[in-house]
């Protein structure tokens, strides 16, 4: 007994070492499981608050370029409004308005207060949470295009999986066609992603614009994602893989919007039921 105690006392640092490494690895793995790690991430109140403080100071540094960007965008939008008003007046002459047909969804504006762009699993922290109506699996967009999907939400902060995360999968199509594929990202450049699974007969070419296709209930169809900069055959030769330059500038992103009521619980419930039926039959 005494020998055992001596042994334990002599090697106590080894036991502590093994315990601490196990705790680290458990955190690493549970971080891939949903909603378990809210206290050990930037969605934690104290860490989130610290980042808000830092971000409120550093945001001034980029104001000049952001203002110029916004001004340019405003100009384009103003012109578009004028053009559309003219078109609308033309069309309205002999048409009947049917209310309820246009898709409606609410957005919540948020600021990015923390971001990484150099890891395999990049995550962004935004300063809105469940108290503002943001929930998991809601889409996040910016004025340029798609940003990502909400992964974790605490009361006042949320963590977003951006397009530049190795686990990100967004269903997209090429503008003007119905050919769709999955947008994925591999570590490396933060402004380029891959659109895989586009059929060969789609004849994609450089410059084609990539949009969301609205198959999932996260993003409405037609939100811009990027444009094609490279086309090559997929390894199996059946489809083509496209390199896509992303519209969203992840290095300098600050203002984003969360689409809050596009997701339909009814649809999700139906799909889950279908999944479980399918699994039971197997």
């Amino acid at each position: 007994m005494r020998n055992l105690l001596d042994f334990l006392l002599n090697y106590k640092h080894w036991f502590l070492f093994i315990c601490l490494e196990c705790v680290s690895l458990i955190m690493l793995f549970s971080y891939n499981g949903y909603q378990k790690s809210v206290y050990f991430t930037t969605a934690n109140g104290v860490v989130g608050y610290t980042y808000s403080l830092i971000s409120s100071v550093t945001s001034y540094l980029n104001l000049q370029t952001e203002n110029a960007d916004l001004e340019a965008k405003n100009e384009i939008l103003r012109r578009r409004v004028l053009a559309l008003e003219e078109q609308l007046a033309e069309v309205k002459k002999d048409s009947v308005h049917i209310s309820g047909l246009a898709p409606k969804y609410d957005i919540v504006s948020a600021q990015v207060i923390g971001a990484t762009i150099h890891k395999s699993n990049n995550l962004f922290t935004i300063n809105k949470g469940t108290a503002d109506g943001v929930k998991e699996e809601m889409g996040v967009v910016s004025s340029n295009g798609v940003v990502g999907v909400v992964y974790l939400a605490s009361a006042h902060y949320s963590i977003v999986i951006p397009l530049i995360n190795r686990n990100s999968r967004v269903s997209c199509k090429l503008r003007g066609t119905q050919h769709f594929g999955t947008l994925t990202w591999n570590r490396g450049r933060a402004d380029v992603a891959d659109l895989v699974g586009i059929p060969r007969h789609a004849q994609a070419k450089k410059g084609d614009v990539v949009l969301t296709n609205g198959f999932s209930d996260i993003f409405p169809p037609g939100i811009p994602v990027g444009y094609v900069i490279g086309v090559k055959d997929s390894p199996d030769g059946i489809a083509t893989d496209l390199r896509v330059a992303l519209f969203t500038k992840f290095e300098s992103i600050r203002e984003v919007s969360v689409i809050t009521n596009y997701s339909k619980p009814e649809r999700r419930e139906l799909e889950n039921r279908a999944d479980s039926l399918f699994n039971n039959n197997n």
Binding site: S30, I117, S120
Partner: protein, 169 residues
């Protein structure tokens, strides 16, 4: 004991601020992001108890992880470094030195200190980037990130050492 605890704690806070404000925004060549916070463990004095070293390592990593959404990655690396630090330090410093020296260029000599810092940085960055990639298919990129980040972090750590110790003299 209390005095060293407070000193290490203040050093941890300052390095944490530098890390999240500055170092986390460095992506040299798109690969290198230095974990300068490792300097907390590098500067732990010789002869410190293994248990306190391990706890310091783990919690330093944990705090970094919480601020960078890298749950477990830095804490695993820093805990491993805390386990190995006494052995690395004694292998790079001569044996006749007094018991409680603080690792620095002044106390160890330039090249011994550089090698010591490089070894420590390599351990933390290797674990960090391997857990980040978590597969061998992209091993080239992982190695590239590890080596470039290690070199960058070592240069920064030596710079921090020069600044802090010259201000004391």
């Amino acid at each position: 004991m209390t005095y060293s605890f407070v000193r290490y704690f203040i050093r941890l806070l300052i390095l944490l601020v530098v890390q999240i404000l500055l170092c986390n925004n460095i992506h040299l060549f798109g690969y290198a992001t230095p974990l300068l916070i490792t300097y907390v463990m590098i500067s732990m004095e010789k002869g410190m108890g293994r248990i306190s070293l391990l706890l310091w390592g783990f919690f330093t990593g944990l705090i970094y992880d919480m601020f960078s959404n890298t749950a477990g990655m830095a804490s695993a690396g820093m805990t491993l470094l805390a386990m190995l630090q006494p052995d690395i330090l004694s292998s790079f410093s001569s044996h006749d030195e007094e018991e409680h020296i603080t690792p620095s260029i002044g106390s160890m000599g330039f090249w011994s200190y550089v090698l010591y810092v490089f070894a420590c940085m390599f351990i933390v960055h290797a674990v960090f980037y391997m857990l980040d990639a978590f597969m061998l298919s992209n091993i080239r990129l992982t190695l590239l990130s590890t080596v470039t980040s290690t070199v960058l972090a070592s240069v920064l750590a030596i710079f921090v050492d020069l600044v802090t110790h010259s201000s004391k003299d």
